[in-house]
């Protein structure tokens, strides 16, 4: 899952981060999970290569 990949890159992220500064989203359209919002104050959005 996308969440697991992001946590592997940034283990310091908290549960609260994922419903405040970060939004993972799935539109139930068969395209899977994606990062809809990344507004973490200190950690940059993971690259597509890091998430592959």
């Amino acid at each position: 899952m996308l969440y697991d990949k992001i946590k592997a890159i940034y283990p310091e992220l908290t549960d609260t981060d994922f419903w405040t500064v970060i939004t993972l989203q799935n539109d139930s359209d068969g395209k899977g999970d994606y990062i809809a919002k990344w507004e973490h104050p200190t950690l940059p959005r993971p690259t597509d290569e890091e998430l592959a």
Binding site: F18, S28, A36
Partner: protein, 153 residues
Amino acid sequence: MAISKIVQDSINGGVAGSGPAFSAFNSLTTSLPNATFTKIPFNTEVFDTNNNFASGTFTPTVAGYYQLNSGLGLGTYIASATIFSIYKNGTEFYRGIVQPNTAVSVSSVISALAYANGTDTFEIYAFQNSGTTQTTSASSTGAWFNGSLVRAA
């Protein structure tokens, strides 16, 4: 001049008239990946007066103010927060957070009044961060989404 029928377009602002109204429910469970806002499909329509609801998305074609309501739950108890949100045009618009403190299945209702310009879309998304994938409830009484025009633009 006799008036045989008044259509929505001929009604001045402030009158709802026979605006769009819909009601749908989820007859199948929806899988919620951990920490991911997931769209709920609400695959079964009860009614859809203006054919403005499809695939879990309400796109009212009459501009105005809409009352939107949704009830949703998880099939089990989780100790972490659960969020049910109304999305407008693909972005979270209103949020309802459920933080259970007893070991019962999580469920809640979210309700909001929102303006629609005639092309805006409205959907319901759910979020949980239990650490594993959860599934939503699936029934006409436990997983539903409805809305109607309450005031024309």
